[in-house]
């Protein structure tokens, strides 16, 4: 097991500086020994590049990686004592499950008897004992996933790298394997670096989450921090489903207090931004409550569509002129065309100043 220190990691593809694509820009990150950390972001955000550099499959343009203080930046993958689970599983098709599992040990010169007992214990842990003599093509998706995990586990690596390991599974199996993965980490306490585009996976599994976009780290923090205090507009919109409502408007001082004024609404703000600029107000669908029309701060709104999503309902509502989504328990029934009053929890409001995804949160 090892802590991982990533220092100013930079990767560009394509030789000339003008045509170069910056896959990863200046990533600095400390991962504690035994931590489960997720790199999350849309495709092309640099999360996989970062993982592949840690694995030694890509060479960084600049920057260093240290495992427990040892600089491993220039080492071959096989000299790093890491294990990796691939999205495609990458099981060796011409080998049986047993041969797949023990390949890494064989390459490291572990004697046959030890290999056999290691295979048995990993097979028992992942419940793949009966599959040991089969070929990968004779296995179901979930079974292949287990074998891929087993092949990584058996080596007892210092750092575990997982590249979208669950994304090829169907929805039900994915939830199941997610729970197993969490249990596995609980038990092993090995450092795990997990790459996913699925923010829900990142939220449920991780000790900390790194949100990335366009090769740049946007925010790092615990799932709670990322969810309730997003650092910028990109993080706010990427994390959470349905995603955070965004209302465009500006900051004005009204009666000595800063107000957010959008098309058809004005809301007193708990934070103190400088007045007079364009801004975006963010509020999560569950932080909006239905209130009585005469309640203080109530804002009138019109229902457009309501959707039932099992235990809850998503109401598509026009707040002033801005379309937003309100999340309520399934028992709250609203009809299209109905006029309602909404209350926004003041301490749950997010305010973003700036343009585009980079608009920073004001606290």
């Amino acid at each position: 097991m090892a802590g991982v220190h990533i220092e100013r990691l930079h990767k560009q593809f394509g030789g000339k500086a003008t045509a170069a694509v910056h896959a990863l820009a200046d990533l600095t990150l400390d991962i504690a020994d035994g931590e489960f950390i997720s790199l999350v972001g849309p495709s092309g955000c640099g999360k996989s590049t970062a993982l592949r550099i840690i694995a030694g499959l890509e060479i960084p343009t600049s920057g260093r990686i240290l495992f427990d203080g040892r600089d491993i930046t220039g080492l071959e993958p096989r000299d790093r004592n890491i294990a990796m689970v691939f999205q495609s599983y990458a099981l060796y098709p011409h080998m049986s499950v047993r041969q797949n599992l023990e390949y890494g040990l064989k390459k490291r010169g572990v004697p046959a008897a030890e290999r056999a007992s290691a295979v048995d214990s990993v097979a028992a842990m992942l419940q793949i004992g009966p599959l040991l003599d089969r070929r990968p093509r004779q296995l179901s998706g979930g079974q292949r996933q287990r074998v891929a995990l087993g092949r990584a586990l058996i080596r007892d690596p210092e750092v575990f790298l997982l590249d979208e390991p669950l994304s090829n599974l169907d929805a039900k199996l994915r939830v199941h394997m997610r729970a197993e993965l969490a249990a596995l980490h609980q038990k092993l306490r090995t450092t795990m670096i997990y790459v996913t585009h699925d923010q829900l996976e990142a939220m449920t599994l991780s000790d900390r989450i790194v949100v990335m976009n366009h090769g740049v780290m946007q925010q790092v923090g615990t799932p709670e921090e990322i969810y309730s205090r997003p650092a910028n507009r990109f993080v706010a919109e990427f994390i959470g489903t349905p995603s955070m409502n965004m209302i465009e408007g500006e900051i004005r001082a009204e009666g000595g207090r800063p107000h957010f004024t959008g098309p058809g609404l004005s809301i007193a703000l708990p934070m103190a931004p400088s007045a007079g600029g364009r801004a975006t107000l963010g509020v999560r669908p569950e932080d909006i409550a239905l209130v009585a029309a005469d309640a203080p701060g109530a804002i009138p709104a019109r229902v457009t569509v309501s959707e039932l999503a099992g235990a809850e309902r998503y109401h598509f509502v026009s707040l002033g002129e801005s379309p937003i989504i309100v999340r309520t328990p399934a028992t709250t029934v609203l009809h299209p065309g109905e006029t309602i009053a909404l209350g926004l929890a003041p301490d749950r409001l997010h305010l973003f100043v700036g343009t585009g995804d980079d608009a920073a949160a004001v606290r």
Partner: protein, 272 residues
């Protein structure tokens, strides 16, 4: 059904076209000398005889020619597979500047007529003392076999998922180790298919074998068999018997690996 009715006559015609010379060769080798030139010809020998075959081994050095051919062909095929596969792997996997142009040049080398190569090759080999040597002849065959192997194997390697190799690298394999343990086993059909073609090319090759080898004891089959033709007398029965025996190993090899050959050439052409 209709489709097959239309296709079968065409297939039959093609089969006749391809198979008749083989049939005629075999039948002629089994006829006595007097029956070979009879008009009208007999489609099955009236008198069956193995005389030509016994003559082949007792009166000519067919056995030696056969062994020489086998040796040269195995050597050149083996070398072509090793060198060609490594080259193909590099073309398929590594980011090398000018890779595409190089890939095309390889194909160009394959299409280059051998008759143009033979004079410079002869001069070069004489200096290197590689004439009258089986190793030398095998090396000369690589001028065709290596480009062919590279061209076909490149697609094979490209169709093997990179993830597999990367998994092996992380599991503790070296580059070559990953190639050997993980990539080559996926490319076995391709190796067999290209190997057979490289072997076949060398087995049938006449010009290089004639010019690069003048020592009688080192001659290979195609130029060796030419000596059965003389100015006064051509023993067709003997030539046909030799041809039949020379065809036999290739026919057997094709039969054994037909399954791989079909998947092999198919997989090479269409990825996935």
């Amino acid at each position: 059904m209709l489709r097959s009715l239309r296709i079968y006559p065409a297939v039959l015609l093609l089969l006749l076209f391809v198979a008749f010379p083989l049939y005629w060769m075999t039948v002629t080798s089994l006829k006595p000398q007097t029956e070979v030139f009879r008009v009208p010809p007999t489609f099955l020998p009236e008198t069956w005889t193995l005389r030509h075959y016994t003559d082949l081994f007792w009166l000519t050095d067919f056995g030696l020619l056969f062994l020489n051919s086998l040796k040269v062909c195995l050597l050149s095929t083996g070398l072509a597979l090793v060198v060609g596969s490594l080259g193909a792997y590099a073309l398929a996997r590594f980011r090398v500047p000018g890779k595409e142009a190089y890939g095309r040049l390889v194909l160009l080398a394959y299409m280059f007529p051998g008759a143009l190569l033979i004079i410079p090759l002869m001069l070069l080999f004489r200096q290197l003392e590689l004439t009258n040597s089986h190793l030398g002849l095998s090396l000369a065959y690589l001028t065709f076999a290596v480009p062919f192997v590279m061209w076909v194997m490149r697609d094979f390697f490209a169709s093997v998922p990179v993830d597999l190799e990367e998994a092996a690298l992380i599991d503790g394999a070296s580059r070559l180790g990953a190639l050997w343990d993980v990539v080559l086993p996926q490319a076995v059909p391709g190796l067999i298919a290209t190997g057979i073609f490289a072997f076949l090319f060398a087995w049938n090759e006449y010009l290089f074998a004639l010019i690069l080898i003048s020592d009688e004891s080192l001659r290979t089959l195609p130029p060796g068999m030419m000596r059965f033709v003389s100015t006064t007398d051509t023993n067709w029965g003997l030539i046909m018997a030799a041809s039949t025996l020379a065809t036999l190993p290739m026919a057997i090899a094709f039969g054994l690996v037909q399954r791989y050959l079909v998947t092999g050439l198919g997989a090479g052409g269409v990825k996935g």
